[in-house]
């Protein structure tokens, strides 16, 4: 069961990684994911280079990292301070790696790997990313659970905890819903050309004279407006009508010519 739950609400956690995506033909965007900081970028690079997190090839990863930062700058993406701090750290580690290893003197512990602190941070960070993922799964499952609707059992207590603001909010939401519904209905009720033509003919028969300005103004959508315009042209072409315009740029009326 859980499986279908997650399927329904899924967004692919594993794939939200730092990557360059081509958003559209003219826009290359660096998609780092909202959460991605320098540690995420490093983890991504390590994974992409198929490197071992416990034995990071610092020189190679540093180069890739800097390449990324430069690309961000080229793409005019504000590079957050944290990325630059990490760049400095990487360069420092890289240079320390290049130094000849001091031979460990008697009784001393082996000199610490300059990468160790970074490795620890990456591991901890990775852990919390997985913890976040597990939280996400939990929340997803929990979103499939509903508690009961409000009940009004408390007959003895005429007091209610709603305020005028609750009332207002309920009203606003309802009106929004109402509006949405009406718009939906308008959408569904959109006329065909045949209907528009039929309506216009009927209207002309009754009113004898139609103001085009008024007619076009009454149209609910661009599509209806176009249909109305085509219908007028069609009527002018096929029936005994005339178009009158009293003033230049004035209103045009469509008039039935009595035969």
């Amino acid at each position: 069961m859980k499986e279908t739950d997650t399927k329904q609400l899924e967004f692919d956690f594993k794939n939200v990684q730092a990557e360059i995506v081509r958003e559209s033909s003219d826009e290359l965007r660096l998609k780092l994911g909202e959460f991605a900081g320098p540690l995420d970028l490093l983890l991504y690079l390590i994974r992409r280079e198929e490197a071992n997190i416990f034995d990071i090839p610092v020189a190679r990863i540093t180069d890739k990292y800097l390449e990324y930062i430069r690309m961000m700058e080229r793409l005019d993406i504000a590079v957050a301070g944290e990325f630059l701090v990490m760049a400095a750290t990487l360069i420092e580690i890289k240079s320390r790696m290049l130094l000849p290893k001091e031979p460990a003197s008697e009784g001393e512990e082996e000199a610490e790997d300059p990468r160790q602190e970074l490795i620890d941070r990456l591991l901890e960070h990775q852990q919390f990313k997985l913890a976040a993922e597990s939280l996400w799964t939990k929340a997803t499952v929990e979103q499939a659970v509903f508690t009961r609707g409000t009940i009004e059992t408390d007959d003895n207590n005429p007091e209610i905890s709603a305020t005028v603001f609750d009332l207002f909010e309920a009203f606003q939401k309802m009106m929004d819903r109402h509006r949405e519904q009406i718009q939906l209905e308008i959408h569904r009720d959109e006329m065909s050309l045949a209907e528009m033509l039929r309506n216009l003919r009927a209207k002309l028969k009754i009113e004898k004279k139609i103001s085009l300005l008024k007619l076009f103004e009454d149209m609910g959508s661009k599509r209806e407006l176009i249909l109305a315009f085509i219908s007028v042209l069609e009527i002018v072409r096929t029936e005994s009508v005339r178009l009158c315009q009293k003033d230049t740029f004035g209103d045009i009326t469509l008039e039935l010519v009595e035969s």
Binding site: G149, N157, E159
Partner: protein
């Protein structure tokens, strides 16, 4: 009953009963999902609504409801499922009302259901208003909310509208003003009052 007439004819004629139920629920599953719907509903839930949401026949819904209801009665539950006000509702059994009341007293005050709050909002802002007009705005039946609001004396009837069917008009009561801390209706918040919060 006209229910059967409304059933999509394609269902009726083309496929055997087994295949036809789109969701192919077992009786137990149907009862379970109906139980869930009644539970989350703010108001007594009409059979027609369940049939629509679940894409099942009304007959199937009704027999599942009856089964469910008698199951609740049979297992000495603290709850009951019963038909009330044109719909099905889950509620506590009268046996436990004393304890329930005792418990509810520990809470500050009863909440209005969203349904009732919405209905009250429409009446407050559009009064005097008829039930069909409320239906038009809310998009759902409000009969049981109207009853609740009348019981709580938050609304009163204000005569009848002079149109077809002479429907009853409703408006808010003096108690409404008192409970919501308003001097008069002009004190109801308007859109303008909220614009400053948005910015």
């Amino acid at each position: 009953m006209s229910e059967k007439d409304k059933e999509p004819s394609s269902h009726k004629t083309s496929e055997p009963a087994e295949l036809e139920s789109a969701k192919s629920r077992s009786t137990t599953e149907l009862e379970a999902v109906i139980e869930a719907l009644i539970f989350v509903s703010d108001e007594p839930l009409p059979v027609r609504t369940m049939a629509k949401v679940l894409d099942e026949k009304k007959d199937a819904i009704v027999s599942a409801l009856e089964e469910l209801s008698s199951e609740y009665a049979g297992r000495d539950s603290g709850l009951q499922i019963r038909e009330i006000g044109g719909g099905w509702q889950m509620s506590t059994r009268t046996e436990h009302h004393e304890e329930v009341r005792e418990f509810l007293k520990t809470r500050p005050s009863a909440k209005l259901s969203l349904a009732s709050l919405e209905t009250l909002a429409v009446i407050a802002y559009k009064q005097p208003v008829t039930i069909p007009e409320i239906l038009e705005i809310r998009g759902v039946q409000s009969a049981s909310s109207i009853k609740t609001l009348l019981d709580k004396r938050l609304i009163v009837s204000r005569g009848r509208k002079d149109t077809v069917g002479k429907p009853m008009l409703y408006g808010t009561s003096r108690d409404f003003l008192i409970q919501f801390g308003l001097k008069d209706l002009s004190e109801l918040p308007s859109i303008e009052d909220f614009e400053e919060f948005v910015g």
